[in-house]
């Protein structure tokens, strides 16, 4: 098999990972932007990583699915905390999310300072790279995304604050391991930014289209230039988002 065929066969799992992440993150991101809590994904990802490190520190031997359980439990606890703060101090919710991010990140440093064996690997455990995607991960992501889509489009209006944060925590913990934190943030926020001035009924479809085209164009550009894929996709999406944003006519708005 030549490098050329190998290059093409790299594109498909990565593209699939991108599309799966987009399916949940584009609608989630529109909510996140509306609520003005754009850094919540970074905070949740750090809390999930902290959960894994805490589990390791208290002596649990983590293999495969146990790691996932630790990460999801921690992310859910973080989500609960944020639900509570949103109820009690809604006026500073975004600031509190920022503080949670810093606390979760530095707590990892403190824990690893005393119990650091394999610390580097643990820190990277939850930081995925889109080209490293495995078929197991894709399968898990596909199942979770199918559940998400059913829940989201059927019960979104009745989900409330708790439901939103729970769904968000689970999906972000999955996606960060799949494509890494830069792509998660971008897929969440950039389509929402690009489409918020478009007609309300078209925002979701346009967001999906933007994300899918950006992953395809970004991966293709990354193969041609041989630059790290995540960074190229982020830039592709940002550039295409500007174009899409400019096509919105104020008359389209609700």
């Amino acid at each position: 098999m030549s490098d050329f065929m190998a290059n093409l066969s790299i594109l498909w799992p990565a593209l699939l990972a991108g599309v799966l992440v987009s399916l949940s993150h584009v609608p989630l991101g529109q909510q996140v932007l509306k609520r003005g809590i754009v850094f919540i994904d970074l905070a949740i990802a750090q809390v999930a990583a902290l959960g894994v490190i805490i589990a390791q520190t208290i002596g649990l031997e983590l293999h495969g699915w146990m790691t996932q359980v630790a990460a999801v439990v921690a992310a859910l606890l973080g989500a609960m905390l944020l639900t509570w703060t949103e109820r009690r101090r809604p006026e500073v919710q975004e600031a509190l999310i920022g503080v949670l991010f810093v606390l979760a990140s530095t707590a990892q440093i403190l824990l690893l300072a005393n119990d650091p064996h394999g610390g580097e690997e643990l820190k990277d455990l939850l930081a995925g790279q889109i080209l490293w995607v495995s078929s197991d991960q894709l399968l898990r992501a596909a199942v979770l995304t199918a559940i998400f889509l059913a829940v989201w489009f059927r019960w979104r209006t009745r989900m409330g604050h708790v439901g939103f944060y729970v769904v968000f925590a689970v999906m972000v913990t999955m996606s960060v391991q799949l494509v890494g934190v830069y792509l998660v943030f971008t897929t969440l926020i950039v389509p929402a930014l690009a489409t918020y001035r478009h007609a309300a009924g078209r925002q979701l479809v346009l967001g999906y289209a933007l994300a899918a085209v950006s992953y395809l164009a970004g991966l293709a550009a990354s193969v041609i230039t041989d630059l790290p894929s995540s960074a190229v996709i982020v830039w592709a999406m940002a550039v295409l988002a500007i174009v899409l944003h400019l096509t919105a006519r104020p008359a389209d708005r609700r």
């Binding site: 098999m1 030549s2 490098d3 050329f4 190998a6 290059n7 093409l8 066969s9 790299i10 440093i109 690893l112 300072a113 005393n114 119990d115 650091p116 064996h117 394999g118 610390g119 580097e120 690997e121 990277d124 790279q129 889109i130 080209l131 490293w132 995607v133 495995s134 395809l216 293709a220 990354s222 193969v223 041609i224 041989d226 630059l227 790290p228 894929s229 995540s230």
Partner: protein
């Protein structure tokens, strides 16, 4: 539209990636073992190196060409001893390339050819981000490079039998040039014996042991863990009384820690290439050692 885009991309890649003839396709994880593979394989091999000297080999950014090479490689030349644990196992597993699976002849580990130092007697979590198999940074002792070269020559001959004689001849030629160079390096290293130095952490162990440098302390005693304020205070007190000649830093290390200590105790920082390509002068394995010894000797003058 989509199809046309794919076709355009395909045409572009195809133009760039067609191999000239059937060479042995090698994926080397570090610049040093990539350089060794070129020394030993000559024009029978096509070497792709996953990391440059200025990157931390523990971590790698996924580039398409790296994944592509993992899928098509005939031989992976890894350092081993867990150096690439963060990315190589995942890469090899996901590549689905049975030829280079660990345990098969297509998977070569340099560390298996030498005796590792700093092997922990018990893996103790209080020791930092340590390597349970021992210190993996073996390339800075030229005796290790000779051992690895011997093993790699044999492996090349084994997986590419039609060219076995070619590899044997190149291997013998490399060994005789290396022995001559080692005589030169031993002479240059003799005056450095016993010189007191401070290191960043244990990745200079093999170099210090080979030359006989006297390691007074390490700035980052637990690899991967930033030193505490108390430790740094104690370090500056200790080193102000018992001054080292120099602070050794590898080109890929962040210079901040070494420069901070240098200002505190008034001792120069010496930046060593650590790996082929780490300094402009370290172009291959021979110049790696020439340059390392030149920089050390100049600092002692």
């Amino acid at each position: 539209m989509l199809r046309r885009l794919t076709m355009t991309v395909a045409a572009l890649i195809l133009g760039a990636a067609l191999p000239a003839h059937a060479e042995l396709r090698i994926l080397a994880t570090t610049a040093d073992w990539g350089a060794l593979a070129i020394e030993l394989g000559g024009d029978k091999v096509n070497v792709y190196t996953a990391t440059s000297a200025l990157q931390d080999v523990h971590k790698v950014d996924a580039k398409p060409s790296l994944v592509a090479r993992a899928r098509t490689a005939d031989l992976v030349v890894a350092n081993g001893a867990d150096l690439e644990i963060g990315w190589l196992p995942v890469l090899l597993q996901e590549s689905g390339n049975a030829k280079v699976r660990p345990g098969t002849p297509g998977y070569f580990e340099a560390a298996a050819a030498v005796k590792l130092t700093d092997v922990p007697t018990a893996v103790d979590r209080s020791m930092g981000d340590i390597h349970p198999y021992g210190n993996p940074h073996i390339q800075l002792d030229p005796r290790n490079v000779a051992e690895v070269a011997r093993a790699l020559s044999a492996r090349l001959a084994a997986i590419d039998p039609p060219d076995a004689a070619y590899y044997q001849q190149r291997g013998a030629d490399f060994q005789s040039r290396w022995q001559q160079a080692m005589a030169r390096w031993d002479a240059a290293a003799a005056p450095l014996k016993g010189i007191p130095v401070v290191v960043i952490h244990q990745d200079q162990s093999y170099l210090c042991r080979w030359i006989g440098l006297n390691r007074l302390a390490a700035i980052e005693p637990k690899p991967g863990v930033p030193p505490s304020a108390g430790y740094l205070a104690q370090l500056t007190t200790q080193l102000s009384a018992d001054k080292p000649k120099m602070i050794l830093r590898n080109a890929y290390n962040d210079p901040k820690a070494a420069e901070w200590l240098s200002q505190k105790i008034g001792v120069p920082v010496v930046t060593l290439p650590f790996s082929v390509g780490g300094t402009p002068e370290a172009k291959d394995l021979f110049s790696l050692f020439d340059d390392t010894l030149r920089r050390l000797s100049e600092a002692v003058k």
